[in-house]
C-alpha cells in the first residue's frame, strides 16, 4: 500500500502486511535455518543470501509488554495502548496487543497476528490478539 502522505511504498514490508492481512504471514529462512523478517537480501545471522519465504507459525507467545501513555504523534489518539514482543519461534515481532483489556495482558499470553490500524492516522499496525 502506498503511503497517501509521502507516496512511499516500502517494498518487502508493505508486501508482508498485505500477505498477513490475507492470512499468509511469512518469515524469511536462510539455507542454514535462521529466521528473519523482510525486507532482507542477506541473513543477519550468517550472511547467507539464499533466503526463502516460509509460513509463519500461527501463534506466538508474549515475551514482554508495556502500556504506553505518552505516545509519538502518530499514536496520539490510540494511547493508552499496549505494545509487546511476541515470540513466534523462528522470529519475534513487536506489535500492539488488541482485543483484550489492558490490565489482563501478561507475559506468556498466546497470541495470533492481526493487522490493525492506528486510530490516529488510519495506517496499518502489526497487532496481536489473544487466541
Amino acid at each position: 500500500m502506498t503511503d497517501p502522505e509521502t507516496g512511499v511504498q516500502d517494498a518487502g514490508f508493505d508486501d508482508w502486511l498485505d500477505a498477513t492481512e490475507e492470512g499468509d504471514a511469512y518469515y524469511l529462512e536462510c539455507a542454514n535455518g535462521h529466521g528473519s523478517l523482510p525486507p532482507r537480501r542477506v541473513c543477519p545471522d550468517c550472511g547467507s543470501t539464499d533466503l526463502e519465504e516460509v509460513p509463519l507459525p500461527e501463534t506466538g507467545v508474549i515475551e514482554t509488554f508495556t502500556v504506553t501513555h505518552v505516545p509519538t504523534p502518530a499514536f496520539e489518539d490510540d494511547a493508552p495502548y499496549a505494545t509487546a514482543v511476541a515470540d513466534f519461534g523462528p522470529v519475534a515481532l513487536t506489535g500492539q496487543v488488541v482485543g483484550i483489556d489492558l490490565d489482563a495482558i501478561e507475559t506468556g499470553l498466546e497470541v495470533a497476528l492481526e493487522i490493525t490500524v492506528s486510530e490516529t492516522t488510519g495506517k496499518r499496525v502489526i497487532g496481536f490478539s489473544p487466541v
Binding site: 504506553t68 501513555h69 502518530a74 496520539e76 514482543v85
Partner: protein
Amino acid sequence: MSNVRVAGVGLTPFGSTPERTGRDLFAEASIKAFEDSGVPRDDVDALLYGNFMGELSEHQGHQGPLMAEAAGIQAPATRYESACASSGAAVRDAVMRVRNGEDDVVLVGGAERMTNLGTAGATESLAIAADDLWEVRAGTTFPGAYALMAQAYFDEFGGEHEDLAHIAVKNHENALTNDKAQYQRAIEVADVLEAPQVSSPLGLYDACPISDGAAAVVLTSEEYADEHDLEAPVAITGTGQGGDRMALHDREHLARSPAAREAGAEAYADAGVDATDVDLAEVHDCFTIAEVLALEALDLEPIGEGITAARDGRTTADGETPINLSGGLKAKGHPVGATGASQIAEVAKLLAGTHPNSSAVEEATTGVAHNAGGTVASATVHVLEVVE
C-alpha cells in the same frame, strides 16, 4: 603507543534553552574546553563531533564543518551519528587517531538541541533510533522500548518499580552539587512511584529529561602534553565498542545488553584492568532500568543483581563503586549527541579531583564511561586512569 590525555573539558549547562542554536551551544562548550586545556586552537588537527537529530530539530545536516567554525578552528571536521552514543563513538575514533600518530590534538564533543521540538516532537525524534518499519510503526516509543526491557527483567530476575526508584533518587542526590545539571533537586522514592506513567512499568521519574546542551573535550597525545607542559593528569587508557541487532525483538536477551558487555570487555582489556579495578563510573541511565543493565554488562554487578545496587547503597556516593556522581542522564540531563563526551568530561574531573563530587572518590584512580545508542544496539565504553 601513546596514552591519550584529557587536556581540557567544557560543558554548557544542560537544560531547557529552546531558543539557543546547536552552534551556539557547541561554541560555549568548546570555549570552556580550550580555556581549561591551555591548548591553542591552531594546534587542533581534527574535530570529531556527535549529533543525532539535527535534521529534525534544526533542519541542519553536515554539522561537522559548521561546528568547527563555531569553535573557531581550521581543521577537518566530521559528524558522528550513533543515536545517543554519537559522541561516545566520536571519542573512540579520536582516541584511535591520537594513538596511531595521525593527530596530536583532537577536539571531540557533541551537541543536541531538543526542547524546541516539544515533548511529542522529541519523543518522535528519539523513536527513530529504533527500527522504523518493525518497531516505530507498531507504536514503540523510546520509553516504551526500555519499558519492554524493564518488564522482561522483572519477569526473568525479579525486582520491582521501587528498586528502580532508588536509582532515580540516588542520581538526583548526586546532581545537587553539579551546577551544570538540569535537575538540582532531591526527590523521594514516593515521588517516583507516584509520578504519572509513561510506559508501564516506567513513570515520568524513571526517565531522563529532554535536554539542550553541549560537551567538548580536548584530547592530546602524551608527547604533546609533555612538550607543552600541560596539566593533564588523566588519560583515556581503554576504548571499546559493541553492537547488537537493531530491533529489540531480534535479540537473544531482552533483559541484557550484550553490546555494552562487548564494549566493556574490549575497553577493560585495552586498558589492562578489570571490573574490580573500577572506582567509579558514569553509565548511560536514560531510564532507571538502563543503569541496571549497564552495571551488569560492565561486570560491576552480577547478572540479575544490579536491580538492588542503588537500594542497598553499593552505587551511592558513599558506596563501594559510586555510579553517576554527576547526576547521570537522569538528573544531569541528556542532550543526546553531547552525552558521551560529557561523561568523559565528568569522569576526568572526578579523577583529577576538580569535580564537586570528587570528595566522594578521593583515592580513585580508575573510572569508566559507558554510552549507549538506541536500545543498546550501539555501545561505547572508555576507561580513564590517573597517570600523573
